[in-house]
């Protein structure tokens, strides 16, 4: 085996390893959502709404530059069912339900993010 082939195999292994470790870490952090899981809608980095995954609904979203997306929550998962963007990647993305998963519409700068109930910010508590 010549030098470049060996190096390239090493490179491939290295990348696969990195990807594997990354995937493991991410799966570990994306625990199955609790019953309080919510789909959070962010437009241009700012939160515009959050909806619990256990209540079916359809929410229209106003993205940047007049872009529109429609979030659909059904059967405990979130999915984008309508999008005005040219590429439609957000539309083809499979439904998400795990904590930390996202569906992104880059042209409209829309991000749907799943947050489990545990991590929701607590505004205050009394003892």
């Amino acid at each position: 085996m010549n030098k470049t082939l060996r190096n390239e195999c090493l490179l491939l292994c290295g990348i696969l390893l990195l990807a594997g470790i990354g995937y493991g870490l991410i799966s570990y952090r994306q625990t199955q959502s609790t019953r309080d899981a919510q789909a959070v809608i962010l437009v241009d980095g700012k939160e515009v709404g959050r909806y619990p995954l256990n209540e079916d609904c359809q929410i229209p979203i106003q993205g940047v530059n007049g872009g529109k997306n429609t979030l659909q929550i059904k059967n405990g998962t979130a999915k984008i069912t309508k999008a005005s963007c040219p590429d439609g990647i957000c539309y083809k993305h499979r439904a998400i339900k795990k904590n930390g998963q996202t569906i992104v519409c880059l042209p409209n700068k829309v991000v749907i993010e799943i947050q489990s109930g545990d991590e929701a910010d607590v505004d205050g508590s009394t003892n």
Partner: protein, 168 residues
């Protein structure tokens, strides 16, 4: 010498058009996996050939012009941003390796493919200000490498046949 200059202009012009057409063809192929950023990178075939026959400067020029042209014709101004981020990062990394014997054309292309995707995701994370997008990294690392390998194998075959004619 003037003839060489003309040849150069014609050659680069041809490469730009090729890269442009390949980008268009690629945009017609639906991405079946439903994960953003998984693509073949056909236009990078041309960039690789330019890199190995004309050198770094022209490869970068070619890539930048192609991305801007595509952005203005059938892409969008926003998509140009991500393509630029991925393209520039990928080229910078390839510049480090293409003259060395550590990697052959295959390997350089693999590296380029990975870095292209890394660059795009980093830019996306920056634009929507959401670090959670990092969850796309594993898939894109692999798809970038595989696509890079395929393109690299093709590029190696083309470069071998074309370099005697087009080394300017």
């Amino acid at each position: 010498m003037k003839e060489n200059r003309t040849k150069l202009v014609a050659y680069v012009g041809m490469l730009i058009s090729l890269a442009f057409i390949l980008s268009y063809v690629e945009s017609l192929i639906p991405i079946s996996l439903g994960i953003p950023g998984v693509k073949l990178g056909l236009a990078n075939l041309v960039v690789m050939v330019a890199l190995y026959t004309l050198g770094a400067k022209y490869a970068m020029l070619l890539s930048l012009i192609r991305i801007v042209l595509v952005g203005f014709s059938f892409g969008s101004l926003a998509s140009m941003m991500y393509a630029l981020a991925g393209g520039i990062l990928s080229l910078l990394v390839m510049f480090l390796f293409y003259k060395r014997t550590i990697f052959s054309v295959r390997g350089v292309s693999m590296l380029g493919g990975v870095c292209h995707n890394v660059g795009q995701i980093l830019m996306a994370m920056l634009v929507v200000q959401n670090p959670l997008l990092i969850s796309y990294f594993p898939v894109l690392l692999i798809s970038g490498t595989v696509a890079g390998l395929g393109i690299g194998l093709l590029a190696a075959m083309i470069i071998k046949r074309v370099e005697k004619v087009y080394r300017i």
